[in-house]
Assembly symmetry: C2
Homo-oligomer: 152 residues x 2
Amino acid sequence: MDDDTLIFTFFNEIGIVSQLSQAFLNRHLPDGLHSSHFATLNHLYRVGDGSTPLAIANAMQVTKATMTHTLSVLEKRELVQISSNPRDGRSKKVFLTPAGRAFRLEAIGEVTTAMATVASLFDRAELESSLPTLQRVRKILDAERTNRPSGD
Amino acid sequence: MDDDTLIFTFFNEIGIVSQLSQAFLNRHLPDGLHSSHFATLNHLYRVGDGSTPLAIANAMQVTKATMTHTLSVLEKRELVQISSNPRDGRSKKVFLTPAGRAFRLEAIGEVTTAMATVASLFDRAELESSLPTLQRVRKILDAERTNRPSGD
DNA sequence: ACTATTTGGTTTGATGTCAAACTAAATGGG
DNA sequence: CCCATTTAGTTTGACATCAAACCAAATAGT
């Protein structure tokens, strides 16, 4: 297998696993929540809230237009609260509401339960050992695309 | 890091790498071709043509409805040709046209060129060594979702 | 200070994807 | 043989996502 083929194969496999895992999430998240919403809630929880939409978009690797949409959905459900930034009239700040925190916990519970059977099939060490590779690949790809710089 | 966190982290990383690589493809594929179209052309080339839409959908891990759409785009561009199956009135057979083969080569060229700089940053052995893990994970996830059975 | 550029966010239009309902053909049990 | 079930594909309606055009606020260069 030459280098190009290896790379194609690698990314093809990544793409399929990603699709399957996202489909898994979408099937098991409560109340029609989409995996992108779940990821956003988790991000807000992890980094502490008050991030700007653009920062979140960069962290999630989606465009700011997409984030506008995602946040409007979350806001409509009252899982986040969006306030204008007194320091900068252009930007906004996003906060998890108590409902948002509760919902996140509930979602994690559901997913974890649903995952229980399948999780036991994974080799923990195997996943762990490929994490650094994934992170390196992510960094490289992220640096490559000059626009929309890295976040998180 | 407990097991659940590890798994979440793993799939999160997979998701981001997948999104970045797909975005990369979408940016560099010629003529507005989408990565899913590219993947479908490649699949047809690899398995030899004459597959049914459903078989392709399973291999690509998308629903048959999605495949109907993808194939109609490819057919409109005359990159594939779709004929009815004389053996089975319900199903169809998909063939790469000469234009489709040519287009695939062109696309591979473009992508490979675009990838040249970034590809040199990857550690070939590293990618190679994580491939089996990805394939195992894929198999597990694929088996889990009882509907829409595995292909390829 | 004033204009030009950059930056954060929204809007618009297009597209890919999915789930669910539907159609038509094949298969199977009586 | 006939009806019930399964199977392949399409249609419909919803939604996530993107690129490009747009607006408004901040910043910079002169």
